[in-house]
């Protein structure tokens, strides 16, 4: 019941935003803030009340028939695989509300659409039914399209529709796979029951796994399928970037961990080496292309693609360390990329440019922004002491165990990452001040700090005490391993 309330609470926000027709901007912003805080508080309550083993907490699950003739049900519940992302979706929505303090045009509608997106994201990470998962998966799509298309920069319209068509192609293909899987094993669409039964033959599993993997990899995106990403990331307003990079790719990777691997162990098996290769290609390609970007936002976007590769590698490994790393990397990737995108937004709004070669000496005028940018970049490099290190290291360990060559190459990616990120830092926050606009610039204000500091704080905490997250996810990861091993 708590889960259902948390998922659908944002609807109240949509309603409130529609009702506040004549309210001033201040009321709108603070009510949006209040609405966005509630799901986060509920998730924190769940963490402290049931964090030990989420699967045993029956208060979190809910299940009833929806379309009984096809075995489709409304089934929600939280487990260790989804909990981290469930938390992150709630957190990043709150941070997106704070970070959109600069949205001047129709904030009411902006927040209403953002809340619809939040509903979809929370739902995906709690759904325990294939069709329900798909429904929530798609609910995020139109809000994102509208957020980019209405509030983005001058290139927003083609970017928005390109994003929509690509990901819709992926998700419709995935839907066909889901329906085939559910109809051929029953019909039954309960994820839990499908994981236990494993009714399909090996050939059928492969045939069903192929469209599902394709759809999920487009969403991630894995590198040959990524061409929609750059335009939409660069065109988005900052707070949309937070959701686009922090949560949306994880819809794809979470689908791999939650559905593709445990439900179709034999079907996915032949594709696992390719998944590892995709991961390594993402890491290396992302780093190389990021190196060449003159635009700070594009650099962060490619860095984000790159570090998503570690999740793919960890999933492909099929062992405990790798999958634990992958599940955790989903969260840590969201934390650091959201942090960097918000900082880029702050810098761009202050200096009026995003070009790296025009910047320099930011730290002198904006010590907090500069310091946090350095922290974010260090996190992205995988420096020990920050949360990304733990998850990337685990993913590489797992990957190395399963595919030694790809594991080594992934490590190479780490070095490349360090190169372009340090180079970026050197040219932006250090060195002489080259921008004339920088002379009068002030450091981040209290509202902006409120958006970034929690992210930096979590990166540090999870870097030193990763068990806060890993202990929650471990039982669920073990269940996935049983499903793979039991095949």
């Amino acid at each position: 019941m708590i889960t259902t309330i948390t998922i659908f609470f944002p609807l109240l926000g949509v309603l409130l935003m529609l009702l506040l027709r004549n309210a001033d901007e201040r009321t709108v912003r603070y009510s949006a803030l209040g609405i966005a805080a509630v799901p986060l508080l509920l998730v924190l309550y769940v963490y402290f009340a049931y964090g030990g083993d989420l699967r045993e907490a029956s208060a979190l699950t809910q299940s009833f028939d929806w379309i009984s003739s096809l075995g489709i049900g409304y089934r929600v519940g939280l487990d260790g695989l989804g909990f981290g992302m469930f938390f992150l979706s709630a957190l990043l929505t709150l941070i997106a509300v704070v970070a959109s303090w600069d949205i001047r045009e129709n904030p009411r509608q902006y927040f209403a659409i953002l809340f619809v997106a939040e509903l979809g994201m929370l739902g995906v990470f709690a759904a325990q039914d294939l069709i329900l998962f798909y429904v929530f998966f798609e609910i995020t799509l139109i809000p994102m399209y509208l957020l980019v298309g209405i509030w983005g920069d001058e290139n927003r319209r083609p970017a928005a529709i390109k994003f929509f068509i690509y990901t819709f192609l992926g998700s419709t293909t995935m839907l066909a796979g889901f329906l085939a899987l559910g109809m051929l094993s029953g019909p039954n669409f309960s994820i839990e029951a499908l994981q236990e039964s494993g009714a399909l033959s090996r050939t059928a599993q492969v045939a069903v796994a192929a469209p599902i993997l394709f759809g999920l990899l487009v969403k991630v995106p894995a590198v040959p399928l990524h061409s929609w990403l750059l335009d939409v990331y660069v065109s988005s307003p900052t707070s949309t970037n937070v959701m686009l990079s922090g949560v949306l790719p994880k819809l794809g990777t979470y689908g791999l961990i939650k559905i593709a691997v445990p439900l179709l162990p034999q079907g996915v098996e032949p594709f696992l080496p390719f998944l590892a290769i995709f991961g390594v290609v993402n890491i290396i390609y992302g780093s190389f292309v990021a190196f060449l970007q003159p635009d700070l936002k594009a650099l962060v976007a490619y860095s984000s693609i790159g570090t998503l590769g570690f999740i793919l590698l960890g999933v492909a490994s099929g062992n405990a360390v790798g999958i634990n790393g992958a599940v955790m990397q989903q969260v840590t990737h969201g934390l650091y990329s959201a942090l960097l995108f918000i900082l880029v937004g702050i810098i761009a709004s202050r200096t009026g440019t995003r070009r790296i070669d025009e910047m320099g000496g930011l730290a002198a005028r904006m010590p907090w922004v500069g310091g946090l940018l350095a922290l974010g970049a260090l996190a992205a490099m995988g420096v020990p002491g920050l949360a990304v290190f733990v998850s990337e290291f685990m993913s590489i360990m797992g990957g190395f165990e399963a595919f030694p060559v790809w594991g080594v190459l992934a490590t190479l990616g780490l070095i490349l990452g360090a190169m372009y990120l340090l180079f970026m830092l050197q040219r932006t926050i250090f060195g002489p001040m080259t921008l004339p606009t920088l002379e009068e610039t002030e450091d981040a204000g209290p509202v902006e700090m409120a958006a970034v500091v929690p992210l930096a704080f979590l990166l540090l905490i999870l870097g030193f005490v990763p068990s806060l997250l890993i202990n929650v996810q471990r039982p669920a990861v073990e269940a996935v391993l049983v499903a793979i091993g039991g095949s």
Binding site: D65, W66, I67, S68, S69, L70, I131, Y134, V135, E138, I139, L141, I142, Y145, L146, G149, I150, R156, R157, A160, I161, F164, I165, F168, L169, T172, T173, L175, A176, L179, A180, G182, M183, L184, P187
Partner: protein, 477 residues
């Protein structure tokens, strides 16, 4: 044997017929009372709907008039769709028809189409089917040509009439050939002629029959009348014709094929698959090129006929039951979203440009149209998603390669359709408003229909369970 029972089974049709007469009579004696005629016609559609619900609730079933007329859950389900679409079409027509001064005639024609379509889904005799189809089609020629102030209307009506006549003769020719080989026109007795060694004449009859139906439901390559007819017709008529008679025609085709010719299923499923693939691509590719929203929706309705035919192709193997359900669910889902989309044209205008900036000037209408467009693409949680999902599910169960190909084509076509449906959304949400926008009309009933259908399209997820339960008991397999 004509019994009292038979007349109970006919109550919905009798109600609709009586109201069509009353509406006409009111027009004779009180020609200026537009409100009264519209109210009566809407009330008539509602009573028809309620009486159909009553028959369902009483679990009324039976076969009457020498097995020529059957009342079962399957027929009643489609009668619900027809009656409800008529209700909304009448409400949506109120404002426009009042302006022409010919409201009684217009509403009478709509109710006559209702009678024809409702009889059609209950017919179990090929000649009865032909008569019912004509009863539904002949008034629709007049409906398309009804808008005398626009030249496109007469043009569309004329084209529709000519092609419709050809289609009817092809259909009749097919029926005659089948009758000749089978020795009976009753569906249950047909199955004998289509068992074992099937004569080539009977197969030719089948092909002609399917071609005739293909004309009626605008399946490519027999679709070319559709854009002109829907562009010319008054929006409420185009909306109604693209939903109610079409659903009924698909339903009776399903009945003929499943009850009359189950033995030759491999032939007609393969034929359906090929027609489905061609129709989907033709509809969507041509819709992409349109600048006029009516024509776009006309081609979109061609594409949607292709989607439904994919369910026909899946009527085999383990997918049989799911495929029948898919046709039923899809028809209901399509009814709410397509009616709404056509009605919005009546409110806003038929050029894509007239939708520019609608979100700023009329947010409620823009939001409703966005919902209809997203539903037509097949995005959850809107109604169209469930229709498509059901078809794909049936296809997955069917186990035939050609059906897999058709399902893959359906997936590709869903994506192909995104640019033109979302072009409207883009215009409404991203573009600046045109200067003469914001014209407010006092078309209360029309707006009510649009909003009610938008709500139904959005909350379809809640109806789909009961609808599926109803579809599951409809005894066509």
């Amino acid at each position: 044997m004509v019994t009292a029972q038979a007349f109970v089974g006919l109550i919905p049709e009798i109600v609709a017929f009586l109201f069509s007469l009353v509406v006409l009579m009111v027009g004779v004696f009180a020609p200026r009372a537009t409100g009264l005629t519209t109210g009566l016609a809407a009330f008539g559609a509602l009573v028809t709907f309620v009486s159909t619900v009553m028959l369902l609730a009483l679990r009324f079933e039976g076969s009457f008039f020498g097995d020529g007329y059957v009342v079962d859950d399957f027929a009643l389900y489609f009668k619900l769709i027809v009656a409800l679409s008529a209700f909304f079409a009448v409400l949506a027509a109120a404002h426009w028809a009042g302006g022409t001064g010919d409201a009684p005639e217009y509403l009478n024609l709509i109710l006559t189409v209702v009678v024809g379509s409702m009889l059609l889904v209950s017919m179990r005799d090929l000649f009865g089917i032909f008569v019912a189809i004509e009863l539904a089609t002949i008034p629709s020629y007049a409906l398309v040509a009804f808008d005398r102030r626009r030249r496109e209307s007469s043009e569309g009506g004329m084209k529709y009439l000519l092609t419709g006549m050809i289609a009817s003769s092809i259909l009749l020719y097919g029926i005659v050939l089948i009758y000749g080989t089978a020795g009976s026109a009753n569906l249950t007795e047909l199955s004998g002629a289509f068992a074992g060694q099937v004569s080539p004449v009977a197969l030719l009859g089948l092909v002609l029959l399917v071609s005739g139906f293909a004309f009626k439901v605008s399946v490519a390559p027999f679709h070319f009348w559709t854009p002109d007819a829907y562009q010319g017709a008054p929006a409420s008529a185009a909306a109604f014709l693209s939903v109610a008679p079409k659903a009924a025609t698909f339903a009776v085709l399903l009945r003929i094929l499943l009850e009359g010719m189950p033995e030759v299923a491999p032939s007609w499923t393969a034929l359906s698959a090929v027609l489905a693939i061609v129709t989907m691509f033709v509809g969507n590719l041509l819709a992409l090129r349109q600048r006029n929203v009516r024509r776009m929706l006309a081609y979109s309705s061609v594409a949607h006929s292709g989607y439904i035919l994919t369910a026909f192709a899946a009527l085999q193997g383990a997918g049989l039951q799911t495929a029948v359900q898919a046709v039923l669910i899809y028809s209901a889902a399509y009814a709410v979203m397509n009616l709404g989309a056509f009605f919005v044209i009546d409110l806003v205008g038929e050029e894509t440009k007239s939708f520019n900036g609608l979100f700023r000037t009329r947010p409620g209408v823009a939001l409703s149209m966005a919902i209809f467009m997203a539903a037509l693409v097949g995005i959850p949680p809107f109604s169209g998603f469930f229709g498509k999902a059901w078809i794909i599910a049936a296809g997955a169960q069917s186990g035939a390669v050609i059906v897999y190909v058709a399902v893959a084509a359906l997936v590709v076509n869903s994506v192909l359709s995104v640019p033109y449906y979302f072009g409207i959304i883009r215009n409404m949400f991203f573009e600046e408003a045109v200067t003469d926008a914001g014209r407010k009309e006092r078309a209360v009933a029309l707006k009510f229909s649009v909003y009610a259908l938008a709500v139904a399209t959005t909350l379809f997820a809640f109806f789909v369970g009961p609808l599926a339960a109803l579809a599951g008991t409809s005894g066509l397999f």
